[in-house]
């Protein structure tokens, strides 16, 4: 059992369990898997023209995030500083839940993405990567003569 990054109340946990059971029936997982509960959390979606990736990595200098695409494999890596006080300081740590240290997440992209048309923005602690898909993969209306 993984530890959810953002745990919720019991009712939504049951809801999630049901959804996951459903997914495991009709969803063949990727060979790289989709690790859950790791930092940073990721949401992935797609439109006919692009693949949209949202990386929830709060409190990181955007310049220190390394985003790479190599042969339709996207890697997001970086490091997050610890905000806890140094050991020498006279402070008691009561709760320590936030992630600190180096992180790396890898996502397999669809084959039709164009690695040269990538747009990445960092706002409110979320890195939004938008990757265009090649023309050929976009749905086209074929006119009948």
């Amino acid at each position: 059992m993984y530890r959810a990054l953002f745990p919720r109340d019991l009712f939504s946990e049951l809801d999630r369990l049901q959804r996951e059971l459903q997914q495991s029936v009709d969803f063949s997982p990727s060979i790289r898997g989709l690790p859950r509960g790791g930092f940073p959390a990721m949401n992935i979606g797609h439109t006919p023209k692009s693949v949209e990736i949202y990386v929830f990595a709060p409190g990181i200098d955007p310049a220190a995030i390394d985003v790479q695409i190599e042969k339709s494999v996207l890697t997001v890596a970086g490091e997050r500083k610890d905000d806890l006080p140094a050991k020498e300081e006279k402070a008691a740590v009561h709760i320590d839940e936030r992630f600190a240290g180096r992180f790396r997440r890898v996502v397999t992209l669809p084959d039709d993405v164009d690695p040269s048309a990538v747009n990445a923005r960092y706002r409110d602690g979320v890195l939004h990567i938008s990757i265009s898909r090649r023309e050929a993969a976009q749905p086209r209306r074929i006119s009948i003569k």
Binding site: D9, A41, T47, D83, E97, V126
Partner: protein, 126 residues
């Protein structure tokens, strides 16, 4: 009777609006308590902090710029809001809570009330 209905209604709405629990760091020094909370995706104007009696409530709504025709294929952040409630202890000064919110990280500083700060007691000679 009417009070009881009000309480039931409140707990129902709390359950209906299920929210994510943001991870926090809390540490304490002689002068007060510092709290950090991760709430990525929340713009400054959608963050709400409330101190009522002895309860501190942190809430935030996620606002991402999603393309209108986007279909989600994988979701780890599956609810649009965060909420977490803490009970404050008596010696904390609720009037002087200072908050900073930067790139999805909330930093709260709650100082201890003047009477609760460590102080030296002078011994008078009679």
């Amino acid at each position: 009777m009417s009070e009881k209905t009000a309480v039931t209604k409140e707990s129902e709405t709390a359950r209906n609006t299920a929210a994510l629990m943001p991870p926090v760091d809390v540490f304490e020094d002689a002068a007060g308590i510092t709290l950090y909370a991760d709430m990525p995706g929340v713009p400054k104007d959608k963050l709400s902090l409330q101190v009522e009696d002895d309860t501190l409530t942190i809430e935030g709504e996620i606002a991402l710029d999603l393309p209108a025709d986007m279909e989600a294929s994988h979701r780890e952040v599956s609810l649009p809001s965060y909420r977490r409630v803490f009970t404050l202890s008596r010696e904390l000064d609720k009037e002087k809570v200072a908050a900073e919110f930067n790139q999805g990280v909330l930093k709260l500083r709650i100082p201890k009330a003047a009477h609760a700060q460590p102080r030296k007691i002078e011994v008078k000679v009679a």
